[in-house]
Symmetry: C2
Subunit: 298 residues, 2 copies
């Protein structure tokens, strides 16, 4: 089954377009893990392994997809890569889809080595994810090895089109049309050749739109691309701004949250719940409720 | 001492602006290492560790700087990260400068985690390199944590401005002025605040110019930035095209070669030399001679 079909099927099964970002900051882990992580890199990586297994027990039944952020594992060196591999495997044991957020981009055989690392199940060094985030700066031929490897693996890509940082426009808005539109058109073109029976493409896009009209613009420009939304304002009524990303079936996008879920154990209003897992579960369920209202109108 | 001063001092000491790229392809290692690398990821990583130690014994006395290509280590998972760390440490034992070619780029605290991983000597997970390649697509604020971390560590950056792949212009030439010029202007501006006593900045640029006039254009646009040149045509008279990158002291750029050095052991014309090390040494010395003629006019 194509990546997009697997993605929407999983979203339907869980009734949630939420994606949980795994961006572990050691000093903000729940207490027992935080204490263990204060040791050396090996101890910290071991703590992360146990933390993510426990976290995935909470979020696994509630969401369809997780997004490990490679940087927060790489900072622990080879021990961190071991913890990252374990998180991918633990997520797969919960039948979650894994979008590896590594934002890789290089040329030729180097792009191919990155693609094999993170997407190719026959590459033995590291467990394959279901999709990878890719930085397009180096151009179409530099993205080609990622596309080819994803095709062979039945995997997806999320190409950075417009990022969510305040200064995203610095280069992404350059030119007429803006660079982000040019990249979006490439994403649409790469996807057009690869659409599955339901019409969706495995070539998605990261769209950190900060206004509803901007999101609608990119949705129209890439009508068949799964969108990865960084989740601006999904809390409260602001989630309405995300509606343009979804079709009538609630398909079209996954919305990421990292800190609001990973730090839920610190929330004052949830201290009546003894376990960090219960606080985390509440935060995930709140997010899903807000997103369902937008994606499905329910 | 600032990164640029350390770089030119090392270039002067070795009499060579050559940089050796460590892009290990397992199937093209010299025979004994290739045979060992045919095992599992752990065996392959162990073979890479021994190979790079032996390679650095050859190139260490001959050049000033090496550039490990992270992708070819990452593909071996956590074992590969162990081999990458060992290569950095082995290069430093030879007093070589290490430019980590990881082309990282992300936002906020994620950029900071990447910067700490590869540049911060107080971050215990991975040995610090002397400089890191950075992808600018996400914008100025996304590059800021790399700049800040490099400042604190006395390290350098090489920002991707114009890459060397045939399709580099796909996005890098977009707009008027072209995007690559806009990025070059940012590199120049970031560097202007950071110039050392000799006038050089620690914020360098990757410039894969394919024509001498294009290289001269970027040199003029970033007059104080160390340039990392992918080394088009450094063999034969074509090295002349690189002259614009250098000042009268032979400073201003380092020129990378990977395959021409790493595969020198396969060269037909060098089979009279029994050891792969001797063939490699010849290739490095040839490169240095060609580059000295251009950089120093000698």
């Amino acid at each position: 089954m194509s990546f997009a079909s697997r993605l929407w099927q999983a979203v339907d099964a869980k009734g949630s377009p939420a994606m949980i970002g795994l961006d572990p900051r050691l000093e903000r882990l729940p207490a027992p893990f935080r204490d263990r992580a204060a040791g050396d890199s090996q101890a910290a990586a071991d703590a992360l392994i146990d933390y993510h297994r426990a976290l995935l027990d909470v979020v696994g039944p509630r969401v369809a997809v997780v997004k490990p952020q490679a940087a927060f594992f790489e900072v622990l060196g080879h021990h961190g890569m071991r913890a990252l591999a374990d998180a991918v495997e633990a997520a797969h044991r919960h039948h979650l889809l894994v979008v590896m957020d590594a934002k890789r981009g290089d040329i030729g055989s180097t792009s191919e080595a990155y693609a094999r690392t993170y997407l190719d199940p026959t590459s033995p060094g590291f467990p394959a994810s279901d999709a990878l985030t890719v930085n397009p700066y180096l151009g179409e031929d530099a993205c080609e090895p990622f596309l080819r490897t994803a095709d062979a693996a039945g995997a997806g890509l999320f190409v950075l089109v417009k990022t969510s940082n305040p200064g995203a426009g610095c280069f992404q808005d350059h030119g007429t049309p803006p660079l982000a539109d040019v990249v979006a058109d490439k994403v649409a073109a790469w996807g057009a050749e690869r659409r599955d029976a339901s019409g969706w493409s495995p070539v998605g896009a990261v769209v950190g739109a900060t206004r509803p009209d901007e999101l609608a613009h990119f949705r129209a420009r890439m009508p068949h691309a799964p969108l990865l939304l960084p989740g601006f304002g999904f809390q409260g009524g602001d989630a309405d701004g995300l509606a343009a990303a979804f079709d009538a079936h609630g398909h079209g996008a996954v919305v990421n949250a990292s800190r609001s879920i990973l730090y839920a154990h610190e929330r004052e209003d949830l201290q009546h719940l003894a376990d960090w897992q219960d606080r985390t579960a509440v935060a995930v369920d709140e997010m899903t409720a807000a997103l369902r209202a937008v994606a499905l109108g329910t």
